[in-house]
Subunit: 454 residues, 2 copies
């Protein structure tokens, strides 16, 4: 056996197969070498030697690190600042005016806070879409979280804005490739904002660049049924039809939300299923009273992978993927009108393997299997709210709190231990966030980065 | 000024007025005497003397202790043991067969665990409906939580079962009155199970006893639209009409769920509004795909108070009222199709003052005001998932976790301090629960306590 660098001792392991029921194997060791899971074996069978770190995980359950499949991480800076408003007001009177206040430095402050919040909650990967994405990349690299970052652009900023966003993606990709010796922990996607804020010409150009340079495209589409209708009225096509005719689906896309996906859209998505993922963020849909949610069952039938995300904290208020996956299960049961749908196993699979696909890493993360990157959350299910523990899988979906996450490993590195962030000074992160928070919600200058009229 | 026994120093205070916006007053002292809030005043103004305990709450926010307005607390013992099943199977193949295994001792074990879980989460009052309710009363008295307990009965157990449940309520009332020198911390209600499991004759008798002896009645009614329809088919009346014609509404009722309440029911409820509360448990409605939720807006228009509860953990998986109140806000926005409804202030009011009304204590708990019992949760909003803190009220509804509850006071007594339960040995509670958990989910004997065919 090759030399291992880290062995996690004596944990239970959540096994999430590609199909069928999840199971929990008790008393296991996870052997990690160069950031990769080398073996998962019965506890005690592995003999550690010199230079091998041992992490005692007795009483904890190891779960594939969660993936936040769609977020705008620096928006933690607007958490709680846009409440009880319609989706129109949320965009036009709150968020897009606030985003005039964005600077590279403020984005960095928000991104560091977001990475800290996610890591402490067992989120080991996030898929992001925002401005000043280079700052988010720097924060992700510093704090030790995995990330795919799409620099956002609107067509209202012209071809210069668009091309600058493409260039930012190239730079982030290079940064990620140069930052670590192994496979990059930070990757980039192209980030047109949405089908209602980006022209078909710009979407076409995005698809060309994506195909030529091997990027995926991450964008908002068919967020609501209203958007689908207005797209038909305005462009004679649904948002998904627009993505098809501009080549975006052919290039490979992560579609945020998709609550307004129609039956005929599903047939289109099916033909691009191998290159398409959808990210569902159910808390946002309820909070903004959007009237529908992502059609997970239908997407799965079409062969499309689905992940779960938090969207930005300006609507979701947390970056807690445990909260999101629970709400996903609950709202999917409601949507399909059957309690037997969106089972615990399917929910856990969506949040792990589904998230991996949404992050563009379907074979690299999302399961605790030999050959995958060692992205692991170790969770304590011994607190009263999880006991007695008839079924740890049920506890992970319906009882657990993010505060039950004890230790977190990303790429084989321990980044959170005993509920403490090891990679940065949390006190400093919080102090920085407090210091600039007021600047981000200042509406005194008027104007907005964009107008919401989908 | 009279002698105080406890002063909570230098906290922020969530002020929940009877109408209008909630607000947060910073840097306050809460002065408590004989279990009652004597004054809430600017920090430092109160001079403590000998025999007065001081609790430093710098950096914490004091919130009225949450009320779990409807639960079956010992069902924590079946947590995670009835997943992904229809409501029919949940009752007929899981829960009601499992409840054949109930014994006084097992109920006590479950109730102690439930009280611990709730207190640690800042829930200071619970309104319960279950078997062996005397055991729950003993657990509540021991752990220092406030409770109203309704001993459950079905008509299938005959008049003997019914009368035994009434007698149990009388005994719990007496127990509560004798346990403390001040107003009782444990009270009793009458607990017919539901309009579909209790005959009209038994409901009439329940109403008579309630009026004669000053009890309130806590029962399930109109849980789903299906139940309302089958009640009409079977009895020629909606469940609410049954409650009216049997005198239950006249006596005063806490109605669990009410998702199947009709427009004409609302007019009936309006005439009894002063004596009626409804408890909403939205996680259960989603999880069982019940298809509707409690019509809070319409109930409020009818003058009926609404609280929020967890129902039993066999469906809800936690007794976390923070989770419930958040889901209530989210699902009410969805139900009314407007993000501007069920505001943060209304949600906090429902979970505190609404819960107080549901517990039969509308003037005694539910607000941090002079003259009310000192039931207080002190919460830390300084963790990354609540920061930066643009609006602490928003954090309490949309960001906070139960694990952010630091210290809990019930009736002026500190029952949780620095996240540790002071009133019982939590390790022992968890050990006891683990030891008997398997006995409660044993289905080998066949049969059931009741059959669900509403």
């Amino acid at each position: 056996m090759a030399m291992a660098r880290l062995v996690i001792r004596n944990c239970s392991v959540l096994v999430v197969p590609a199909v069928g029921e999840c199971r929990v194997d008790e008393y296991q060791d996870i052997v990690i070498e160069d950031g990769v899971i080398d073996e998962v074996m019965p506890a005690g069978a592995f003999q550690a030697g010199a230079g091998i770190e041992e992490l005692d995980a007795t009483g904890l359950i190891a779960v594939p690190g969660l993936v936040n499949a769609h977020t705008h991480s620096p928006m933690v800076m607007m958490r709680g600042a846009a409440e009880d408003v319609s989706i129109d007001d949320w965009f036009n009177r709150k968020i897009w005016p606030m985003e005039l206040n964005l600077t590279a430095e403020r984005v960095k402050v928000g991104a560091r806070l977001a990475c800290a919040e996610m890591l402490l909650a067992g989120v080991t990967t996030f898929v992001d879409h925002y401005f000043h994405a280079d700052q988010i990349a720097a924060a992700a690299l510093e704090l030790g979280i995995r990330a795919d970052l799409a620099p956002t652009f609107f067509s209202s900023t012209g071809t210069d804005g668009r091309d600058a966003a493409f260039e930012a993606a190239r730079e982030i990709r290079a940064l990620g490739e140069n930052a670590t010796s192994g496979p990059p922990r930070v990757t980039a996607s192209l980030g047109p904002h949405a089908t209602y804020t980006v022209t078909e010409e710009d979407l076409r150009r995005t698809a060309e660049v994506a195909r030529a340079e091997g990027f995926r495209i991450h964008l908002h589409a068919a967020e609501t049924a209203d958007q689908t209708q207005s797209s038909k009225d305005r462009l004679g096509a649904t948002p998904i039809e627009v993505l098809e005719r501009t080549g975006v689906l052919e290039a490979g896309a992560l579609i945020a939300h998709g609550c307004g996906i129609t039956e005929s859209d599903l047939a289109i998505l099916a033909t691009h299923a191998a290159r398409t993922s959808v990210a569902a963020c159910p808390k946002a849909y309820l909070k903004l009273a959007m009237g529908s949610t992502t059609p997970v069952r239908q997407l799965w039938s079409a062969g499309v992978t689905v992940g779960v995300g938090t969207d930005g904290a300006a609507v979701h208020n947390t970056l807690d993927v445990w909260e999101s996956l629970r709400l996903l299960a609950l709202t999917q049961k409601q949507r399909e009108q059957t309690a037997e749908w969106m089972t615990i196993s399917d929910t856990l699979r969506l949040a792990t393997r589904g998230g991996a696909a949404a992050a563009g890493l379907p074979h690299d993360i999302g399961a605790l299997e030999p050959g995958r990157r060692a992205d692991i959350a170790l969770i304590d299910l011994s607190a009263p709210h999880c006991q007695p523990l008839h079924d740890p899988r049920a506890a992970l979906v319906y009882s657990v709190r993010a505060s039950d996450v004890v230790t977190v490993v990303v790429d084989g590195n321990i980044v959170v231990r005993d509920r403490r962030l090891l990679t940065a000074d949390l006190g400093e992160i919080l102090k920085d966030a407090k210091a600039v928070a007021h600047t981000l919600v200042d509406l005194s200058q008027g104007g907005a980065v964009q107008h919401y009229a989908p």
